[in-house]
Amino acid sequence: MTNRTPKPIPERFIVKPATLWFDRFMNHFIKVGGLSIIVAVSLIFVFILIQIIPLFRGARVAPDRTMPIPADDYIALGSDEWSELPFFLTADGALRFVDTTDLPEPYHRGIFTRQAGIAQVADVTAVEFNPYASHLVLGSNDGRFSIVDVVYRATHPPRGGREVQVTLEETPPLRIGREGHPLRIVAYGDRGARKLLAAAQWVDERYELHAASLTQRQTLMGAGELSVEQTFDLTEHIDRRPAFLLVPPDADGVVIGQDDGVVRYVHFDGRRFTLRQIFEPFADLDDPRIASMHFLLGDVSLVFTAHNGAQRVFSLFRDPDKDMRIWGHTKTFPDLPGPATFFSAAMRNKGFLTGRERFATLRYSTTENIRWEQELPFDVHLAEIGPRYNRLLFLDTEHQLHFYDLHDPHPQAGWRTYFGKIQYEGRAEAEYSWQSTGGRDDFERKLSLVPLIIGTLKGTLYAMIFALPIALLAAIYTSQFLKPEIKRYVKPTMEIMASLPSVVLGFLAALWLAPIMSNAVPSVILATTFVIASAFGVGFVWGRLPRRIRMRLKPGYEFIAFVPVMALVAYLGWRLGPVVENAFFVVTDPDTGLRIADFRMWYPRATGLSFEQRNAFVVGFVMGFAVIPIIYTITEDALSNVPDAFRSGSLALGASRWQTAVRIVLPTASAGIFSAVMIGLGRAVGETMIVVMATGNTPVTHLNPFTGMRTLSANIAVELPEAPYLGTLYRTLFLGAMVLFLMTFVVNTLAEIMRQHLRERYKAVE
């Protein structure tokens, strides 16, 4: 074998290594870059999803630590914001404070006891503790009471960190009812100017019920001492032994739970008490007696449990028949194993912790949702939800204090809140409602997405009613009848409409169109009807005109010839509007007796619905500007892309241009038209600025064309800037965005699949 050297490759065929290297590099670079942008795009979906997942998690509760408490007969438990210095109230009016920090010796305060003043002069026979206002009411065996404020204050000592200080601010013993007789139950409500105390007193083998309104003298040094202003004897309002007594903090009444299971609600208007309501929460049970009765935060909801463990919530709402606020059954919870022995209402939301013996459950009133429940390894004697809703405290029967960490950032969230009907506090019936902020801390948020979805659909509906016919008709005319040389100018003109920023449309809708439209509703309706009718009329007459007249107008110029007709009939309709208004839409002014022809005033009286200047009608019209060009362009493309052979064939067989358009072209392009409509729908669903500007942004659940609405998108724009980062509202708005995303996703995917389907079809034809 001869050793043949391979023929050298001619130099011009040698690729520079740099070229190959660069090519390889670009290969990878483009792949990575291209893929990463696609990943980034899907990241949007994932990110939004991550934001909303925590909304659907239950509460997480984990045991933290346990510490012993000196044995005693404790009846209540309270704590500071950080649960560093909780106290235990004994039946005889002593407060035992326990330092739960792990500070070293000189700083650790151990356990110390404070005695309320009244307990030093008399025997305490009745105690009430309100953890939200952090005041204690003590009643004595000689008919006196005292109110003790447990004031916690966080200080920052020089050693660093935080130290919680506590002081007791108490009133001297004050008298109520009959002297020398023991108070058995006390209750106290305080809202600034008005303070009310109620007490059940044991007098001569029977119970008497007394109430006292208190006043606080204002002195130059600040708030002065409390004193009794007036006392009332309410014994006539009860007929059995009172077992429970509650006074709302508004101090506008007394709720008495009697031992036979009847609840009596006595209303106080500042001067007089009147018995307003008698009801029996468990009238349907074998044993109607009440085992417990407590307020929830806000004190317009009462939680009752029966002896068999049934648990119901009653709320105060305005009864439309009686036109006064009374209690009504609003929520039912699953039964407890037996009567509740402990109860604690959350101080930040409508949650409450309850249970008996080893069984503990954390429930949420608004949604009737059980956030957490568990058999604990000990018998619970007292329990408390930490004031920050981040900790649970249990005192067991062995005098061990158990700390549990509570992680439940979104207690109100859940399917029920977002998509279900809920009877909110103060409302007479269950409803879908969105109201994310209120004036008070104890406001119950209403976060139903249903009104927003209905609002979105309402806006879309009115936009489509207006836009769909115009866009489709215009597209058919443009693609089938219009001369190509005119089409070159007509189509871009229509497409310019798509580029109008929606903020401009919104501004014109709200500040220019809405006032005009609301002044002249009959004119607008008439003008529209006239224009539509005239098109049919002119077309009908035209078709019957002799051929030589018809020949004067070249086919494809009808739309120009229609302009003067349209201008004329629209003007006529506009001028006839007031005449029609005078004839049909007349109201009589009740004050002057004058006949006033005004649609805005007539409409609410005739239909019972309201009329707003910025309404769905205006929004629908203006949103047409945004939707028409989209539907128009895509439909026109689909129609124009129908292979010419179809049209030629049809026309050659003698079909008229209209028959060709409707029977041949339209059915062939139907998938494309469907896709156009879907994309237009998607645009209307997501439109934000027009709705924000041209409606009042009130959430509604009806389709009245003359009121506004709030759409999902507008809701995000309006509320997100005020929503605290990662709070319930923030995440709820992300949920709204997700719903919006899914709505458009479904619509657009449908459209896209249809479009691809159509493309295949045309390919088959060619």
Binding site: T19, D23, M26, I30, K31, G33, G34, I37, A40, S42, L43, I44, F47, I48, A474, I476, F481, L482, V490, P492, T493, M494, M497, S499, L500, S502, V503, V504, L508, A510, L511, N519, A535, F536, G539, W542, R544, F559, T592, L594, I596, I628, R657, W658, Q659, V662, V685, G686, E687, M689, I716, A717, L720, L740, T744, F745, V747, N748, A751, E752
Partner: protein
């Protein structure tokens, strides 16, 4: 085989369905009328704002409403006449035979400092005569909007006095107004740039100082730096003082001359000439002069800064903010969009995965803009921005630097929103390059990238450009997501200026679209803001429409080219 008998009718039947052709024609007519009417409306109202209109002196028949006038006369620019709301009419007016009693005229009466409002409605039936006095001045002021006034005299602090009927009055006032304008620019230059620069450096130093002050113990090096910082602060203070003094002197000179004048309600008033931005005699102008004045107004509007809660002055910062944001957005969207399209069209195997990706991208184009806004806020501002703040700007916390809305986050959000537009357009353009071109290039031995770089991309460049222009038009007109990620009604500084590091990506910015929203809906006096809204709308519409027409033209041109170009 027999033929069917011929039809007996001699009159040919009209083609079937002509009626419905007219109905479809109506659809197109309505659509065209809508768009042309809207554009016309905006054009008329937008241009009308700048047209110097005559000022009318209106004489009334009887005294019904004594506001804004003395005796039976008032002064104002007649804006429109309309039907009164029926709910505001008295029974006599409803019954009145004269329809003018049910109509009203809106007047721009100006002088908000005197009347408390700038616009007023007057009953049309009560107007006896309208004429146009020659000596009215319309003066644009720094505060309180325009004044409609009759000049009385000019006087200076050192006793110079010129009466209004003095022939020298006009020339003097003209010269003085020009002088105060120059001085105002000088003050502005000193305060905005010279003093602004010092303030900016001062702020950084203060942050540094705060850091040292918080430290328990300082190392010797830190000690030294602390001293330098304090020394530098003293130096800056020393630089600041003479500048502030200079500005003070100029400010005092602005107050040197005072114009005494009279308003129609008879009240004698005066104001320093330094407060007048610009003035003219609206009833003395001929048409060419009016056109010149209008051009002047338009220029002021485009180049000026807003005053009085944005209801007066110009919109330069909003134009500039829109421009910078669109620019940054384009820089972000262009490479990524094109890269993704090249990947999809040239590199990826065409299968069901790529089909799914295409559906996803088309889908994304249909996702509501507000969804991008909420994503931008959650992801860019809070997550990315918050992390940047914690890593690089901990000394400024809790005041966020990047952890709040800003022009960068806004641009990136919009880039994400418009990236599908670019991808779709680029893909279309790439697909239009014929296969033969590619195969020829590869057959000649060019590498894949060389083919793309030298042949495919140049051929599809106009198409890609169209996509970019469409994306820019969409970005420039979008407001809803921007409201969440950094647009503000009034930004103190422009996002790009002469101060280091020149481009301030963390700054909040103004935007024309948001300007419209804010003026029309958030301002206390929406009537007074209306002219500004219309003018801003006109500018925005022009920008967007021009961009779109550009894209449409390029696209049409390309279609023709490719139609002729196929092998």
């Amino acid at each position: 085989m027999t033929n069917p008998p011929p039809t007996t009718s001699t009159r040919p039947q009209p083609p079937a369905g002509e009626t419905y052709v007219w109905v479809t024609g109506m659809g197109l007519t309505i659509g065209l009328v809508m768009i042309l009417f809207l554009l016309g409306l905006i054009l008329r109202n937008g241009i009308g704002v700048f047209w110097p209109r005559r000022v009318a002196e209106v004489t009334f028949r009887e005294e019904r409403d004594t506001r804004f006038r003395e005796g039976l006369r008032t002064l104002g620019v007649i804006l429109l006449e309309q039907d009164r709301d029926i709910r505001d009419l008295t029974p006599e007016q409803i019954e009145s035979p004269d329809p003018a009693d049910r109509r009203e005229k809106q007047l721009f009466i100006g002088n908000r400092d005197v009347y408390g409002q700038s616009f007023a409605f007057f009953n049309a039936g009560n107007i006896a005569a309208i004429d146009y006095p020659d000596n009215v001045i319309r003066a644009e002021r720094l505060e309180w909007g325009d004044a409609l006034l009759f000049p009385v005299r000019l006087h200076s602090r050192d006793g110079v006095e010129i009466l209004a009927d003095d022939p020298a009055f006009d020339g003097t006032l003209n010269r003085l107004v020009r002088e105060v304008g120059d001085r105002r620019r000088e003050i502005n230059r000193i305060e905005r740039f010279a003093i602004g620069r010092i303030n900016l450096q001062m702020r950084d130093l203060e942050l540094r100082e705060r850091f040292f002050a918080r430290q328990d113990a300082l190392t010797p090096e830190q000690e030294a730096e602390y001293a330098t910082v304090r020394q530098r602060m003293a130096e800056l203070q020393a630089e600041y003082d003479p500048l502030a003094a200079q500005a003070g002197v100029l400010r005092a000179r602005q107050m040197e001359y005072t114009l005494d004048y009279r308003v129609i309600s008879g009240e004698a008033r005066s104001m320093p000439v330094g407060h007048i931005v610009h003035y003219y005699y609206p009833n003395r102008l001929n048409t060419p002069a009016r056109v010149r004045l209008m051009a002047h107004h338009i220029w002021d509007f485009l180049s000026g800064y807003p005053r009085e809660a944005n209801t007066e002055g110009g919109i330069f910062p909003a134009i500039f903010g829109t421009f910078v944001m669109t620019l940054i957005m384009s820089i972000a969207v262009m490479p990524f969009g094109v890269m993704a399209a090249i990947y999809l069209r040239e590199y990826a195997r065409q299968g069901s995965l790529v089909r799914a990706v295409r559906i996803a991208i088309n889908n994304l184009a249909g996702v509501p803009s507000i969804v991008f806004g909420i994503f931008g806020l959650g992801f860019f501002v809070y997550l990315v921005g918050g992390t940047i703040d914690n890593l690089f700007f901990p000394q400024a916390l809790p005041t966020p630097t990047f952890g709040t809305g800003g022009i960068m986050w806004a641009s990136l959000t919009l880039a994400l929103m418009t990236v599908p537009v670019v991808i779709v357009a680029t893909e279309e353009a790439l697909a239009a390059v014929s296969r033969g071109v590619r195969e020829g290039s590869l057959a000649c031995g060019a590498s894949k990238w060389q083919t793309i770089q030298r042949l495919v991309l140049p051929a599809s460049a106009p198409g890609i450009l169209t996509g970019l222009v469409l994306a820019m038009a969409r970005g420039a007109g979008e407001v809803a997501p921007l409201m969440l990620v950094g647009v503000v009604a009034l930004a103190p500084n422009l996002p790009i200026d002469s101060m280091f590091p020149f481009i301030h990506l963390e700054r909040k910015f103004m935007h024309m679209g948001f300007h419209i929203y804010d003026l029309g809906f958030q301002s206390p006096d929406s009537e007074a803001a209306k002219p500004m809204v219309f003018a801003t709308t006109l500018v925005l519409i022009l920008l967007v429409v021009v961009l779109n027409l550009l894209a449409i033209m390029v696209r049409n041109h390309l279609r023709k080219k490719y139609a002729a170009d196929t092998f």
